[in-house]
Symmetry: C2
DNA sequence: CTGAAAGCGCTTACAG
DNA sequence: CTGAAAGCGCTTACAG
């Protein structure tokens, strides 16, 4: 006789809970598999010291009962939770969301969850705040994108608390096992080659704040690649911005009001590129006819502004995934330093904002 | 004699840990305060059944030892974790990040943490996935912005699992205690009044997908307010888009290729507004001279495109905060339905994309 | 290779 | 108003 649908789902005879309605525990599994809970624990934790058929019996019971170990109980016993913290101060929503997504890609199926922790690097309570967060939650590990990844006070704290971490940055700041290095240098170099190939010789550069590593690295890559093409960068055409739209507007006016203004401008992020475009427009220039602009980041906005902005794209989501994989490596018996991960390769997305010099 | 800085921080005599280096536990507090751990527990959980001076002794000991209860241990005993889940499928990074920030604003100091859980509403495994997430983590509660908040399958699941939740939506879908209603209706009405005041009579409307509540609500608010001003909306000028840039481009071409095209277009989100602008430009129109455009969302992009886009802004961060406060209310002995929360008021941010009809 | 005991740091259920 | 015992669901440390 076929079993009809349960009308009272809370009175169930399905094998998931010995006592209906409650989740199966390690004790239920032990009873069904006729072993001690310690042996079940060994199977959960993939101990090699379990005989083949014992393991099979336990695995069968686990499947039958739909058992999943309780992370809180496990965490309490392990003195370490199953939570990964993402600590960041990056103001770009697109960056943050892509990074979160990448970390989640890697965490999927691992039983770990992602706890987000945005913060302000200039806050006086930053360190105490992070200390409280990590100590209280006994985090499994922490991932930090720039510019948090560049804060050595936080790194010292993490080491003191013995909390595993992976840093994402444009230069190698740590041992390979706890670093994902993003090739910003190469990305800026591609932008330089593009502008040189288009025949530009008077080229402006709008950098970011000097204390951001990315600014130094991107600026360096741009300058070097330009020099290789025999197009030296005129220092007068270099301006330090703040990585904001407004600072881009300002830098744009400064560059375009020069007696012999640049015919192309590379900005070290998209917000400033769009600021430069705004300045050009305010000065009555037509784009891209009177000025080529290239940005960095490839924000969604880049393909929406008019003319569509040529920009350097970094695989943010992949970077997040790679960082999380390094964090998980020890759990999987792997060496994070030797993980077979592809290099982070930036790519230049060519659109409509850059044209040949006239 | 002044104590010099510790050279060996792991051998410390600071009072934080009875045994140096280890965090203080409830037992340490009980010993110092000369009470049972149960009494300490009562103080932590704000039980009213503790005598005044006993409470003070315990609180002093807690402060002295820098004690914070371990959320994992507490969670295990409570059968409920101290994690709030944010479950969403919203594709806008700005929306997501602002919402997260608002939730975190409210969570600050509560000891709760935010676990993010983006998902795909069309996935076949959606329900099983969410079930696993909630059961495994024994979430304290869940917050769902649109369109997740509109999925009744998930709501049924949440009820079955007895997991508290708060929904954010443009209409009231639930009891007041578990709803934050965003006044999209009013926002769209303001846009309508603005265009009517500018003298436009041939007005286009680009809606979102019909199954999004926000599209129905915003569309309704726009239509009604327009009618009140005596400017009925020509049904031929209404088009359903997909809330994407591309669908905005398409809708823009459709509307602008009509024999007697609209002089103003309202789109129910910014991505489509910018798409309409792109279409206008592709057709050789000059903006805003030949076409006024108003959007909804006020993305960062809105103030970057040229001409700067007039748009309806919703206080996303406040909405996230309010939702989290409702979730926390019971913990604070409050009734979430009677929380003294300000109404969610949209505002029209007027910029440069809308001008008087000629 | 397997298990019985004790413990992780809290709370519930029960007494008094 | 307060506390001793048992328990939440796991793991560690120790035996065998």
């Amino acid at each position: 006789m076929a079993k009809h649908d349960n009308e009272e789902p809370w009175v169930t005879d399905d094998p998931r809970g010995a006592k209906s309605g409650k989740r199966a525990t390690i004790n239920d599994v032990a009873r069904v598999a006729r072993v001690s809970k310690k042996t079940v624990s060994r199977v959960i934790n993939q101990s090699p010291f379990v005989k083949g058929d014992t393991r099979e019996r336990v695995e069968k019971a686990i499947a039958e009962l739909g058992f999943t170990p309780d992370p809180q109980a496990r965490g309490l016993a392990f003195r370490r939770s199953f939570l990964v913290g993402l600590i960041y101060d990056n103001p770009s929503p697109t960056y943050v969301v892509n990074m979160q997504q990448g970390v989640l890609d890697a965490l999927k199926g691992s039983g770990l969850e992602l706890v987000v922790h945005p913060c302000n690097r200039n806050s006086e309570t930053l360190i105490d705040d992070i200390r409280g967060f990590i100590e209280r939650q006994r985090l499994f590990g922490v991932i930090m994108p720039p510019s948090m990844s560049e804060d050595e006070r936080v790194i010292a704290l993490l080491r003191e608390l013995d909390c595993p971490y992976v840093r994402i940055a444009s230069v190698s700041l740590d041992e390979p096992g706890s670093m994902v290095v993003t090739n910003d240098h190469l990305g800026a170099a591609e932008a330089a080659r593009r502008l040189a190939d288009l025949g530009h010789t008077r080229i402006g550069l709008v950098r970011g704040p000097a204390l951001f590593r990315s600014s130094t690295v991107r600026g360096g890559g741009f300058r070097e690649a330009l020099a290789e093409r025999g197009v030296p960068l005129n220092p007068d055409y270099e301006i330090e911005g703040a990585y904001t739209f407004e600072s881009g507007v300002e830098a744009g006016h400064a560059l375009l009001s020069m007696p012999n203004p640049p015919t192309a401008i590379f900005t070290l992020n998209d917000d400033m590129a769009i600021g430069v475009m705004q300045a050009a427009r305010e000065r009555g220039l037509e784009l891209p006819r009177d000025l080529s602009v290239v940005g960095f980041d490839d924000l969604p906005m880049a393909s929406r502004v008019w003319p569509n902005l040529t920009s350097v794209r970094l695989p943010i989501r992949d970077m997040g995934r790679m960082a999380a994989e390094k964090l998980l490596a020890p759990m999987r018996g792997l060496d994070p330093a030797k993980l077979d991960q592809p290099e982070v390769r930036p790519s230049l997305v060519v659109r409509k904002s850059d044209i040949p010099a006239t």
